[in-house]
Symmetry: C2
Subunit: 552 residues, 2 copies
């Protein structure tokens, strides 16, 4: 294992071989810094789990070396894990103004705001973090104030792209800083650590402005109210929606907690512009003529408790969908959410709305052509495709080879892989502890594989609890057996089955007791086996069987 | 409620407001016939459920009227429910040869083949089913021998499209019978009951032949083995794969039970053609040079136990993925399967294969232009868009309006809706029982909402079983309380929590017993409340709590 004495190590602790919980460790000697601290949403089989964060065991072991956490932008998969990490490692956190604005809200909720050290940086900043010098370059993305980092190390400069696209007609007028990238490329860049999200997509990602044109057209043609939903963090798109409303003489109301919060924060910090009379209170929507109203709402992903989903179910306190409404889902379903989105769309149609749910979206990530532009501008010697599942990393690597990067200088990393750079050479040096920590309620990491396996079993065929009380002296049955089932069968219809099961358990126990078998584990195993076999024969189902023996 | 004396009723019993379990009832007086008897795969929240079939309560109540079941084609969402229906209503089943061939396999597995009455029909058949005269017209689809039905009734002809596309260059040379449709249209059609699956898709669906061109190109360029996966029922595509193999001098091996079965059945019945030496045994794959081999495999949907998924996991007995392999997923993920497919693709890439998973597919359903062609050919007076979720039905209805159907003559039905036709007029007449029946293991319909709700609860935060034995005479605690948890927390790490929980339960019970509360329901409620509150405060989790009281 590399001791990191005179070499640079780059270690992905999250976001490779997966989408989500991004975190990359940069390490040189006694200095470490981390880029991003994201969360990931649980997989389907992570039953009952709320969120997943990176396993930071290695950082905690090396807490004395960690100089700071640098955040590229305010999306959950880049800042969502920060509260859990700051609880254990209270190091300075660097980020752009909007990013830190969103981080503050989060830390406040976790009661960590008072002790956190948040330092705002911008395009002119140069931060010394131990032996590292960190500057940022702005890029375009689906949230404003997104940056990548240029990390100067004794081995050379590393360009960490973060999430990016190149939008030549950016909504906020801030272009990606391609001249900075070109200058770094000219001087010589050691390594590029690059966003692979859209590596499978050929061509270019359209500008956000193209979405604005569609929004404008829809608002212009809508006969009645327009209810628009998008990601609450996509301030650019919300800006386009506000502009379209103003252009067509419509007021704007906002519903949905995250939408209200984000718009408030953005207006305060100057990332969003609206004329003073444009935004009205959601309570006043019924005082405005329908054709003079735009409602911005959460729910573009069909999230069950979001405003739009509740409107669709006729369960929203303030707003009811009416025929004549135009509802726009200005988004694309995140993989895994397709069914939730479809369900919401169906309900909106049933409620009589005209629903537009295709074609009003542009990705926040560059497609193949932009990825090749980044590689060409930066001209890195080494390349680490990150922020993606394996096939995206693999495809991104192939693009790099096409552009001219030496295949041997490309590392498709897994979590915990240590890529070491020394004297102009690079190699895979070993592994550090890395992985996932599951958070369920207040518990961090206390739900492991066994608990998940049990939840899975329980979810399939339920549970049968078999209770019996044995005499302490004789070992004979004093009470029971009683069988209680949950999630197995509908008891009223299955009385005969459960009665037979009960008799089977009784006879099994009586026989063993008669044979003088008193060891509880043997009794339980016998009951579990006999009952399991019987139930499977009768029902082809395998409920969990929990034999409980009491003594009295 | 209509008595159906002198009117025609069309009643969707499955396949509207949903994709899957298609079944449509045609009813005139004392005669009924049903088109299709499909199954549907369970939704995400139907934990532990295997399949879902239509609720046939109404058919069973009217069993003396049912003259036959007519099957449009052999896909599961059209024939998968048949065994469960035939168990209760053993009526004649009509279908094309391949369709019945696939039905036979199914009925054999259910032990129903001997008693079933299966009658093969073709393009020249005319079946009298009570007052109905039923003929078929061939259409194109992603399985051969697919037909729609022309149902002649005293009120007029109803055209039931079934699943269809119009493929102008069909792989098996059998064109859709557009001249029949034109003739019906000319004579006058009362109603069209039409497939809405792709109603949201503008334009045309490409011919299956275009997929053949891509397959040919891939096989021609592949440096080593080609492993191709598609739906095992897509015989047309399998034919294209076999042709491509033969054209490039390659042998074909087949893996995966449903693939082997379908290919065998199709070869026997003449729906698939292969030269005698083309297909080799899967056990012989290692005796053939890699560049002379094509392997056809199940698993295009990432199904966990399918051949390709097991190969990707290095868990297949006969075949191991090797660098140099070209793996083709000639399919598109069915909504809901996207994550399983992505996972398989990642694993295949990791194993060193070149994976092609986009662009080698054409839908089996017509897009908007084909749907408009069907409407124009048939020129129905009334229109029922079916086979789709609400937004697809709604969009299909809009297409019909564009083509010229009177909006008042269009019925977007829900399950059980009765559309009545009388003297050239139509209306929504009422509702009959309809819905879903869930099948879990051997149980049909015995898993209802309560069981599902319990499984859902169990899957989220697990269960705590609290057992105590009370004295029959004094009511005091003889043994316990013991707390056993499953799926809640990892016990070894949470001892303190569970100990405290235990003490809480004990003190709660002691207090009640001292106050002479002996009613078990009160005791259980008190334990459940106290424990639930405590656990939520400590963990923010809500496991199911099951208090059990024994007496001795």
């Amino acid at each position: 294992m590399a001791k990191g004495k005179a070499r640079l190590s780059i270690v992905p602790l999250g976001g490779v071989g997966e989408i989500g919980k991004n975190m990359t460790l940069y390490w040189y000697g006694n200095d470490m810094l981390v880029v991003d601290a994201g969360l990931k949403f649980p997989e389907e089989d992570m039953l009952g789990i709320d969120i997943v964060i990176p396993d930071i065991t290695f950082l905690v072991e090396n807490r004395d070396k960690l100089r700071g956490i640098f955040l590229t932008h305010g999306h959950e998969d880049h800042i969502g894990g920060l509260p859990y990490i700051l609880r254990e490692l209270n190091v300075p956190v660097y980020g752009t103004r909007l990013t830190l604005g969103l981080v503050e809200n989060k830390l406040r909720e976790h009661g960590l705001l008072d002790t956190a050290k948040l330092i705002a940086i911008d395009g002119n900043s140069k931060v010394q973090a131990g032996v590292f010098d960190v500057s940022l370059f702005y890029v375009n993305h689906s949230i404003p104030d997104t940056a990548g980092f240029a990390i100067e190390t004794p081995e050379g400069v590393v360009i960490h792209t973060g999430d990016f696209k190149f939008d030549q007609t950016p909504v906020d007028g801030r272009h990606a800083e391609i001249h900075k990238l070109a200058a770094y490329g000219q001087r010589g860049v050691l390594a590029l650590v690059g966003d692979s999200t859209n590596a499978e997509r050929p061509g270019y990602t359209p500008s956000e402005l193209s979405v604005g044109e569609k929004i404008n057209e829809i608002v212009g043609n809508a006969p009645g109210r327009v209810i628009m939903s998008t990601f609450a963090s996509n301030i650019h798109r919300l800006q386009l929606m506000i502009r379209a409303a103003e252009k067509h003489g419509r007021k704007v109301a906002v519903v949905g907690r995250s939408m209200v919060n984000n718009i408030q924060t953005s207006l305060q910090l100057g990332y969003l512009e609206a004329l003073p009379e444009t935004i009205i209170d959601a309570d006043d929507v019924n005082r405005v003529d329908p054709e003079k109203l735009v409602i911005l709402s959460t729910g573009s992903q069909g999230e069950p408790m979001s405003a739009l989903t509740r409107m669709a179910r006729a369960a929203h306190r303030k707003i009811e969908i009416m025929p004549g409404d135009t509802v726009v889902l200005a988004s694309s379903p995140i993989p895994g959410n397709e069914k939730y989105v479809s369900r919401t769309i169906d309900q909106l149609f049933r409620a009589g709305a005209n629903v537009i749910y295709r074609g009003v979206h542009a990705s926040g990530h560059g497609s193949q052509e932009e990825l090749k532009w980044m590689l060409s501008l930066v001209k890195p010697k080494f390349f680490l495709p990150v922020h993606g599942e394996f096939r995206m990393q693999r495809t991104h690597a192939n693009l790099a080879i096409d552009v001219g990067v030496d295949p041997d200088n490309i590392f498709i990393t897994e979590l915990g892989d240590v890529v070491e750079f020394e004297n102009g050479r690079a190699r895979l040096g070993g592994k550090v502890p890395a992985g996932a920590v599951m958070i369920d309620g207040l518990g961090v990491g206390d739900v492991g594989n066994i608990v998940l396996r049990d939840r899975k079993l329980l979810s399939q065929d339920g549970i049968l609890v078999v209770v019996v009380t044995l005499s302490k002296s004789t070992g004979h049955i004093l009470s029971g057996p009683d069988i209680i089932s949950r999630g197995f069968v509908y008891v009223r219809e299955s009385e005969a089955l459960l009665e037979e099961a009960n008799k089977l358990v009784e006879s099994t126990l009586v026989k063993l007791v008669t044979d003088n078998v008193s060891e509880w584990s043997s009794l339980k195993t016998a009951v579990r086996d006999a009952l399991g076999r019987f139930l499977y024969e009768q029902t082809r189902r395998r409920p969990m069987i929990l034999p409980i023996i009491m003594e009295a």
